[in-house]
């Protein structure tokens, strides 16, 4: 009898201890959905939320990230210079940070020091690699600034026209549509040319997007709309100037760039006029602005790679208010309105034993990394490899709720025409026409719930 009592009491003790144990297998349902960037998520909702380094980098990697950060923040000057020379002769801005202010989205103006909108240009047709055709004397990007004594290629003028949009419940908002014209061309352009505006995008989570297996992205492609949901995403395959191969396009508003390295080297070369070992030819080569200096590459490989690494290792901010009932209802509306069919919530990055911080991460970028027809309202009518004139890559929505905090007042879409998330939604068309219409027909309570969900990202 006494033995029984002892056994009974010990059993109670064991049970209590067991109660304190966590289960050995972590159930998916208990996954913390605030962790948008997996292990590389940061709990920071301040104006600096986009500028945080991956938390678990080794000491040497930390050093490289910081070196990249310093270079990203550095203003470049005309060569020859004691340090940070090589700016121009023609350029869009003098340093990375001047467009990616606080590592966030840019300011949709042209010609000012902090302008973050650049203009792509091309002739109709395709080049030998299936890409856009360079304009003689201009290339594929317009540089609207120049070092002293050199002529900028042009001035870009932006004019907005407005229209009123009415929701089913009678509420109204104003949308503004930009029109772009060029003036002060340094040399005439013969014939028709195509323009496409591109706003500096946020820098967060680029390494994680790069680490999504290509097969996972392709698996979501549905070019013939086989599932009959009205949505036909497809991949953009592009010519990569660095590897000299055809690659899946992942970055840029039309997914026309294959890797973070190519993106960084192209930005140095085209946006700032700074040459590197991988893109050693000045953007002005063959033009009257060319400096003729034998100083290329102007950017040391150490700094190019440091900036690449910096861009790859910026955290994604954690979601806020995920347990809020309205946010949860907004998420359900986001799914039922089929927004989620393109703004795909979850990917798992590839296993990469050499980079454990990037490896096998469950991430929530809210993009399928594919290009979609977004309708005539947003069209630039300038094809970019396989992305047609009305097609744009699904923009990642992680960090969306912090755009206005990081870059007050904050802008949205590829050209910054939208001043609020509501405006951005109402610009959706093409394959997203149905989702937009669903939003337009919601009552204000539902619209607010959906917006509250988007603000939580």
């Amino acid at each position: 009898m006494r033995k029984l009592k002892v056994i009974g009491l010990l059993a109670v003790f064991v049970l209590l201890l067991v109660k304190c144990q966590k289960s050995a297998v972590f159930p998916a349902a208990q996954y913390d959905d605030r962790l948008s960037g997996g292990d590389e998520t940061v709990f920071d909702a301040t104006s600096q939320a986009f500028g945080n380094m991956f938390p678990n980098l080794a000491a040497y990697d930390t050093h490289i990230h910081i070196l990249g950060d310093l270079t990203f923040n550095q203003t470049f000057v005309t060569a020859p210079a004691i340090i940070h020379g090589g700016l121009g002769p023609i350029f869009n801005n003098t340093g990375c940070i001047n467009c990616h202010h606080n590592d966030g989205i840019g300011l949709p103006t042209a010609g000012d020091q902090q302008s973050s909108l650049l203009m792509r240009i091309s002739l109709p047709g395709v080049d030998a690699h299936g890409g856009p055709v360079a304009v003689p004397g201009y290339g594929l990007q317009l540089q609207d600034k120049a070092v002293y004594g050199k002529l900028p290629e042009c001035s870009v003028n932006i004019v907005y026209t407005t229209q009123i949009i009415t929701f089913a419940d009678g509420a109204q908002i104003e949308l503004r549509a930009p029109t772009y014209t060029l003036s002060n061309l340094y040399t005439p352009i013969a014939g028709t040319y195509l323009l496409s505006p591109r706003l500096a995008p946020p820098m967060i989570g680029l390494g994680l997007l790069e680490a999504i297996p290509e097969s996972e992205i392709i698996a979501n492609a549905d070019p013939n709309d086989a599932n009959n949901d009205g949505i036909k995403g497809h991949a953009n395959y592009v010519w990569d100037a660095i590897t000299q191969t055809r690659q899946l396009g992942r970055f840029g508003w039309k997914a026309n760039t294959a890797s973070v390295l190519t993106q960084v080297a192209t930005a140095f070369n085209q946006d700032m006029g700074v040459t590197s070992s991988v893109l050693p030819v000045e953007s002005s080569y063959g033009q009257s602005q060319y400096d003729g200096l034998h100083d290329d590459p102007e950017l040391p490989d150490s700094l190019l790679n440091a900036v690449k690494f910096y861009a790859q290792t910026l955290c994604v901010p954690a979601r806020r208010n995920t347990t809020d009932a309205t946010v949860k209802r907004g998420e359900a509306l986001f799914i039922s309105a089929k927004c989620v069919n393109c703004h795909k919530q979850t990917f798992t990055t590839a296993v990469d034993v050499s980079r454990p911080y990037m490896s096998n991460q469950v991430i929530h970028p809210y993009t399928d990394m594919l290009v979609h027809d977004m309708g005539p309202g947003l069209a630039d009518n300038r094809p970019d490899y396989l992305a047609g004139g009305q097609e744009w890559r699904t923009a990642p929505l992680w960090g969306l709720g912090l755009y206005t905090t990081v870059n007050s007042p904050g802008y949205f879409l590829h050209d910054g025409r939208a001043r609020t998330i509501t405006e951005a939604i109402m610009w959706h068309g093409g394959e997203a026409e149905g989702s937009k219409a669903t939003f337009q027909n919601m009552n204000s309570t539902d619209r607010d719930a959906l917006l509250k969900f988007l603000q939580s990202l």
Binding site: K5, F13, C20, S47, T75, V77, I82, N98, Y148, T405
Partner: protein, 361 residues
Amino acid sequence: MKNTFLAILAFSAIAIGLNSCSKASTTNTTNTTTEGQVLTDFAGNLVNPNYQDIQAKASIMNDAVTALVANTTDANLTTTRTAWKNTRAAWESCEGFLFGPVEDNNYDPDMDDWPVNKVDLDSLLTSTNPLTVADITPLTTTLKGFHAIEYIIFGVGSTRKAADITAREKVYLTSLAQSLYNTTTDLRNSWDPTSGNYTAQVINAGSGSTAFSSRQAVFLALVGSMSDICNEVANEKMQTPFAAKDSTLSESSFSHNSIADFTHNITGIRNAYLNSYNGSTSTYTLSQLVAAKNASLNNTLLSQMNAAIASFNILTAQNVSFEQAIYSQRSSIISIQATINTLKATLEGDLTTFVKTNIKD
């Protein structure tokens, strides 16, 4: 006896078991009234007075430049250099809390971009441009601000004499000083309650502010900016010329003013912690919020701030400039960097955790 003993043992075990399941519960919030008063004093006792002082000092420098251009003597050049250093001191001090319009409206790069674009600056001087304020306003930021002025009034190696300043440089200098004054005016107005009133964004954080959804967000932005300037001083401004063994890569290389720059940067951190400018005292401070909950952390922070500010004494006591120390006192520079990085680690670690844990609104 045995039964009683077993029962006691068993209940103890249960009690331990239960205890191990519960978390410690303490009140982890600072006084919300005091938090609000700290922010009010931050704006009223530090930021606004600091920005007013920068403008006042820039005005004095502008007047000194006018006098120098009218009467280009070595005495007037010395006065102008002193006015530049005084303006610079007030400016570098506010870099201890670099957030808000100073960043959002790019007043920082407008006044303090680096390096000077010497190629373009020399071309500009030989051009026929009028070099008026309106003419230089659209120029890239590396052709304006403190360092362009420094280049003209100090010259490479700080060797210039009044007689060396050319007529074109005088025209340019006049516009540079006026332009810098204009920017300091914009900066001052941006926080002034009677003008741009960013002050309201800070003191109304969490209750109507469009910039800050909570008071915690302001304090995190503040602490983040405090650690950022530690990083900038120790690991950028000091490290770049140190690693390259090249004093021309120091930020204020023409004036050899780097130690003063660095000291004022770190003093700005302590100013932010104590809501103090030029020795003024505040009733409500971040230090007070920390001390009320964690006296040891407060003492650590104050001692590390004081140590970081004093760390430059090792050079000034020997009358050695940073530009000289790069070559001759390398171990001293390493120790200064370490002292600043210690403060940085506490700001990024314990103080940030403190704010996240204790400032809940």
